[in-house]
């Protein structure tokens, strides 16, 4: 999985590409930990390049959400596609996070 983080005006944007499974999820959590330590109040995850996610990936997103909420921040997701979108819906996770069709909409969600 590729993890690219970018500082935006009012938020941190993390783009994920590839597969988020039991092996790759810990690296995602570590990347997010750094962002959360940086103090950004909005973290946007762009999942447009993510082709696969398992329960390990869902769990790590849930963990990141808890950490950022504990700091008074929030998590927003965007660009859910294909199998990833379906897994979010089937698991009920889609209703648990603010999700947006575009990065711009997610960044404007503060």
């Amino acid at each position: 999985m590729e993890i690219v983080s970018m500082k935006k005006e009012n938020a941190m944007l993390i783009r994920l590409k590839g597969r988020m499974d039991v092996v790759t999820s810990p690296a995602f959590e570590q990347a997010c930990d750094k962002v959360i330590l940086g103090g950004d109040k909005l973290l946007v995850l762009d999942l447009g390049g993510l082709e696969y996610i398992s329960s390990a990936g869902l769990r790590s997103i849930l963990g990141v959400d808890k950490k950022i909420k504990a700091q008074g921040g929030k998590l927003a997701l965007c660009n859910l596609m294909g199998m990833v979108k379906e897994v979010f819906h089937v698991s009920g996770f889609a209703e648990m996070f603010p999700t947006f069709d575009t990065v711009e909409a997610a960044l404007g969600s503060t």
Binding site: D21, V22, V23, Y52, S54, L58, L62, E86, V87
Partner: protein, 148 residues
């Protein structure tokens, strides 16, 4: 070359560790290549396999124990179905006996331990457990031409 025999599944036996996950996935991917099923369907199969295999790697054997997992698979119905059997020699455990995760509970309160097995059920046409002697046997069936 002889046509593949539906009655004889291909088998792969590996240590019950997370390092075995990719080789098992590659093995099944190789078996269904000829079916030319959509990528989305392949991802769903991979999801069910990951959830089932990780469950065994994490919970079936005592920590530090030298456990094993054996996966057998074959195409059925003229390549329209995939049959997968996953065996392990760990403690008797029926993953489907646990209740469904509460999808209406709040984010903080919900119990997500059963999420992986819930996803196995969602991604398969059929998912069954049986105990065979001292072996756990999980049988999964997937439709290959479209998403279940």
């Amino acid at each position: 070359m002889d046509p593949p025999d539906e009655a004889v599944p291909c088998r792969l036996k590996l240590p019950a560790t997370l390092e075995s996950l990719d080789p098992f996935q590659d093995f099944v991917r190789g078996q269904i290549r000829e079916s030319r099923c959509p990528q989305e369907t392949q991802f769903k199969i991979q999801l069910a396999l990951e959830e089932a295999l990780v469950n065994i790697a994490h919970y079936a054997y005592p920590p530090g124990g030298a456990g094993w997992i054996e996966l057998a698979c074959r195409l059925e119905s003229g390549g329209k179905r995939l049959w997968v059997e996953i065996r392990d020699g760990g403690r008797a455990f029926n993953p489907f006996e646990r209740g469904k995760p509460d999808m209406t509970a709040s984010l903080d309160k919900r119990q997500i331990g059963g999420l992986g097995i819930f996803l196995v059920r969602q991604m398969t046409e059929k998912a069954e457990y049986r105990r065979d002697g001292d072996t756990n046997v999980l049988t999964l069936q997937f439709g290959l031409d479209a998403a279940p």
